[in-house]
């Protein structure tokens, strides 16, 4: 085992497969304090990548830079490149709104819009962008709710206020809402951490289905979840990417001391 950190280029050196998203030398700082330091990651098409690490290691900060959510934060500075299909999200010519539609996001606590019904929530990203065709909206609602494993439970009453659903259902609704804008990459920030075990299981089933079509990047505290759900795992610590490998390898035979310590619960 080594204390050397590893980049994804080590892992994917001989791979000619397509990468949906590539993060190159990403450094994110709040004011003068760097939260993410020089991280390089490559995400394969139609795969699930998990980001693990102790609290404050920068994994959520990194995830949020992948769809430029840091534009909302006042003194956040992002350096480096984030490329989707070869185009750098952070280049001056790119309208962040356009690429945010390529990258959807699901948050930790389910946050369906409280004043809207289930139907309106799912179509929010479309309607509020001018899509009015009722037929298309209906199609998309059915399609995304089915993908999120929620259709059967709500199809009888789509006009019900979204806040009347249970926590697990709300989160699946948020997944459907994110999918409705037809993204290609889906970012998930601890999507099941606020849910009970059965709801968690459903979310994990959803992710496993979705990866047939989308590229998914998920931040999780739950290592067993990472093992169950992801193909690749990246371990971050204090802003650095320490190790990035095939999930099974990382959890059965981690190469870095720090990784081994963390996954075996020897931290703190």
């Amino acid at each position: 085992m080594t204390s050397k950190t590893q980049t994804t280029s080590d892992l994917f050196e001989n791979d000619s497969e397509k990468f949906k998203m590539i993060a190159e030398d990403v450094t994110i700082s709040y004011g003068d304090i760097p939260a993410v330091k020089n991280v390089n990651m490559k995400f394969k098409e139609k795969s699930v990548t998990a980001l693990i690490g102790p609290s404050g290691c920068g994994k959520t900060t990194f995830l949020r830079c992948l769809n430029r959510m840091h534009d909302m934060t006042k003194n956040a500075k992002v350096e480096g490149k984030v490329m989707i299909d070869g185009i750098d999200l952070y280049s001056k010519e790119i309208d962040p709104i356009y690429h945010r539609r390529k990258v959807g996001m699901v948050f930790q606590k389910p946050n369906p819009f409280p004043t809207m019904s289930i139907f309106d929530n799912v179509t929010a990203g479309l309607r509020l962008n001018g899509v009015k065709d009722k037929r298309i909206l209906n199609e998309i609602v059915e399609d995304t709710l089915k993908m999120a494993y929620l259709w059967d439970e709500v199809k009888s009453d789509l006009k019900k206020p979204a806040v009347e659903l249970s926590g697990g259902q709300q989160q699946r609704l948020c997944i459907a809402r994110a999918l409705a804008i037809q993204p290609e990459v889906l970012l998930m920030d601890e999507p099941a951490s606020a849910l009970d075990p059965i709801a968690t299981q459903k979310i994990e089933e959803t992710i496993t289905e979705l990866k047939k079509e989308f590229t998914i990047i998920i931040v999780t505290h739950n290592m067993q979840q990472a093992v169950r759900v992801s193909d690749y795992t990246g371990f971050m610590y204090l802003g650095d990417l320490i190790e990035f490998r095939h999930t099974k390898k990382l959890f059965t035979d981690p190469k870095n001391d720090l990784t081994a310590k963390y996954v075996q619960g020897q931290f703190g």
Binding site: M69, R100, N129
Partner: protein
């Protein structure tokens, strides 16, 4: 072994404290309830007084006719009702949009020095005595135009209104958790869309309450109206003449030594209270319970249609 004894010791201690605390709890509860009652009694008694004294004056004549000669006991407060509705309505038309826009600016785009100064001045403005604002309107409009007018009255009242609306709008918007804005942004929506379609929808109740508070406040303002619309005994003619309003009329009537005038004054006060209440309930129902209202209107329409 010794720690077990210590625990018994501690437990015995707690039992005592609990009994004392239950008594204190009861006492505090009684104090709180009596305070609430003490607060409600004056409010209740005002309503009762006004109702008691004013109900006798209410009649169709009272509500629709111009005031009769002084002390005669005839006539009504028709123009005053009309004036109140017009001036309050106009003031709202000016004050509410400005106030709401300022509130949105302060809440959503307000993390800079400009916003901080605006907020400060807004708070100061809210505390201005309304008579000062009335004088200001007098100087700016009445003196300049050369006559008292409804414009001036609406202007003065809007000055009172918009700081309140701005503040309450800002607070209501701030209460909406940031996670909804994040969700909207993550969907690729532009900031103004997120603000207008998502945040405001969630803050609706608070905003409406704020506007209603402001309307109730200006509905009862007298001093600014004295300097701007002056008062009159005629119905509305045009925007550039003096106009009557209920607070003014109440004031005038209460100064007269005649009992009939006093009675009319009470009646006018009752009418004013009902108008404010009515506006409040009406707007609330329309804005907040649109769905239920639509349902009720639909059933009514069907019933009426069916009858015919």
């Amino acid at each position: 072994m010794s720690s077990l004894e210590k625990r018994q010791e501690y437990r015995a201690l707690f039992k005592q404290n609990v009994q004392k605390r239950l008594i204190v709890d009861k006492i505090v509860r009684i104090i709180i309830i009596s305070c609430v009652i003490a607060a409600i009694i004056p409010l209740g008694s005002i309503l009762v007084e006004v109702f008691k004294n004013g109900i006798a004056a209410i009649s169709i004549e009272f509500l629709t006719e111009i005031p009769g000669s002084v002390g005669s006991g005839t006539g009504g407060v028709g123009p005053a009702i009309q004036g109140t509705l017009i001036v309050v309505g106009l003031a709202s038309l000016i004050g509410v949009p400005i106030g709401v826009m300022s509130g949105i600016f302060l809440s959503e785009y307000g993390d800079n020095r400009l916003a901080r100064s605006v907020r400060f001045f807004n708070d100061v403005f809210m505390e201005f005595p309304s008579i000062v604002l009335g004088i200001f309107a007098f100087l700016v409009i009445v003196l300049v135009l050369g006559h008292f007018s409804v414009w001036a009255g609406a202007f003065a009242l809007s000055l009172i209104m918009f700081p309140i609306v701005a503040r309450t709008t800002e607070e209501s918007l701030k209460m909406v958790p940031i996670t909804y804005r994040e969700a909207g942004t993550a969907l690729g929506l532009r900031k103004w869309v997120v603000t207008m379609r998502i945040v405001i929808a969630a803050a609706k109740e608070g905003m409406v309450t704020g506007v209603m508070l402001a309307v109730a406040r200006i509905g009862g303002e007298t001093a600014p109206l004295i300097m701007t619309i002056l008062g009159s005994s005629l119905f509305f003619a045009n925007m550039n003449t003096p106009m009557d309003a209920l607070p003014l009329r109440i004031w005038r009537l209460s100064m007269l030594p005649y009992e009939s005038a006093q009675l009319q004054g009470w009646g006018a006060a009752l009418v004013l209270i009902f108008i404010i209440l009515g506006i409040n309930l009406g707007v609330r129902t329309l804005v907040l319970h649109k769905k239920e209202t639509m349902q009720i209107l639909k059933t009514l329409k069907e019933k009426v249609g069916g009858k015919n």
